[in-house]
Assembly symmetry: C2
Homo-oligomer: 313 residues x 2
């Protein structure tokens, strides 16, 4: 039983097709197929079965793939151990984040990282359009994701390592001269009749809009829908409506001219409106010293942001 073969089985379990595994591991599909065939012969029972054009794992195959994860974890832990012996968290770490998460965390992380030479972070942003955001952990060491509720139950089933980074309040963004802008906080009933700048269907903050609607007992009137909070913020700033925006990322430095007015962020009273930001990692990758270092930096930066913003719920 070879570890490399087990690793292939594991990739197959996570990616679902031999071609995808081949692409991810820089091999030919034929090579992958051959190795899996050898593994199956060693196992003595079928690990895959045909399903249409592709194949699916049998129960035995899935179980074996799970144990392959434990092997990978032990291996990466050994790797990390001797990295520690060299005091050398060197290497490359890839990171994917949703846009506002990167905006909030990456500047600080990269500044902290400037001290640590030899450790390079390749970050890129992805739109959290699809529900398959956790799938990115197959291709990135760290995936910064967010969810409205505390434990994203869907993620646990995949055995992902989950690090909670920060809980970010979702505020109501108002134009500067808005009547409600003088209040310390606004309640859902205050907002009846407002025009809303929302997000596209299925996007993150939609749930909060529903909650407001339910709490106020009146529908929210969504006149525009944008995925990019910069657009939303520009519209709110121009007095075209109100919106839900995350507290630590809205009102930032991305307005082109300093003379332009910003938005007023007001906490929502009488209801819970927040999003939880997590770092997701495949458990084997989470063992790498370089990955753990970056994860620690992310958490440190998130803590700094939380402390710099006094709680005014």
């Amino acid at each position: 039983m070879d570890v490399r073969r087990l690793e292939l089985l594991r990739e197959l379990a996570e990616r679902g097709s031999i071609t995808e595994v081949a692409r991810a591991t820089h091999r030919t599909p034929s090579a992958v197929s051959q190795q899996l065939r050898v593994l199956e012969r060693e196992a003595g029972l079928p690990l895959t079965e045909k399903a249409g054009r592709g194949i699916v794992l049998t129960d035995a195959g899935r179980a074996l793939a799970r144990s392959a994860t434990d092997v990978a974890i032990a291996l990466e832990r050994a790797d990390a151990l001797w990295d520690e012996f060299r005091h050398d968290p060197t290497g490359e770490v890839s990171l994917a984040t949703f846009p506002t998460g990167g905006q909030m965390l990456l500047p600080g992380v990269l500044h902290r990282l400037a001290g640590q030479s030899g450790l390079t972070l390749h970050a890129s942003d992805r739109d959290p359009v699809s529900e398959g955001f956790p799938d990115l952990t197959n291709d990135f060491d760290i995936v910064v994701a967010h969810a409205p509720s505390r434990p994203p139950s869907l993620w646990y089933g995949r055995g992902l390592s989950i690090v909670h980074l920060i809980t970010e309040p979702l505020d109501v963004a108002l134009p500067p001269g808005h009547p409600l802008a003088d209040q310390a906080s606004v309640s859902p009933s205050d907002l009846i009749g407002e025009q809303w700048i929302g997000v596209p269907w299925g996007y993150p903050f939609e749930r909060t809009l529903y909650d407001i609607s339910a709490a106020a007992g009146a529908p929210v009137n969504i006149v525009q829908r944008f995925a990019d909070t910069r657009v939303t913020e520009a519209l709110v700033s121009s007095g075209l409506g109100v919106a839900i925006l995350p507290r630590y990322t809205a009102g930032g430095a991305y307005l082109t001219s300093d003379s332009l007015p910003r938005v007023a962020l007001k906490p929502l009273s009488g209801m819970r409106a927040e999003r939880h930001i997590y770092a997701l990692m495949r458990p084997d990758r989470a063992e790498r010293l370089a990955v753990r270092t970056i994860a620690d930096l992310l958490r440190a930066e998130a803590d700094a942001i939380r402390e710099a913003n006094p709680t005014r719920s």
Copy 2:
């Protein structure tokens, strides 16, 4: 970082010399040396250093070897998992035991095993002369050992898997017509003045003789010393002295003629006299389904023996 190389490092940590590792893994010393050299180059720091004719591991080498154990455990667990999927605890298990341990447990275990075909047990006995009994775990899947005290602290340091099988009382063996043979139990002071059949220096029960001597406040008079309990028992049976014998193994069926009288076993009162019997396994080997099956049989047989002998402490 290859698993096979890590495994070699682990073997080196346990066996101490490249030649021994080569012999154990059916390779040439040169091959072992080459692979360790590659591993060292990958690690980027020295794993071994010369010591006289041989080599010793550096601290880093030992640490890496420890993590290699975790990898081996994960691998064996995967192996066992798919054995379970096939409902097939097949394979060969090697076992080493001290003589009376084998006498007590092996007949029952082998009978129980007769039902399970495809699983073969290769057992052999070793004299527990040396202190290096746990070293046998390198060459045997299961080592049945005994110790006078509860947790043999020396064994824990090696990270061995330890399964407690049974606590066997150590009784006083008396000739059938001996004056004390009518009592339910005998105390150390009862035994003052007796002639003892002991064990060679450093052998298991010697400590109990010391304890008796201390409790009685008088020295014990050891006139003969034998390692084999059959000899001891034959002498006691002939009225040539008394001895300490383990309750479940003494008085057995190994007297040649049925007409010969046996010995009377009397519990020692007023002091603790017992030995603890354990199954020792290297943790990776302990994961194998076949090994676990045999270990379970050992424990079942030990439980049966304990229940068949009512406690009359």
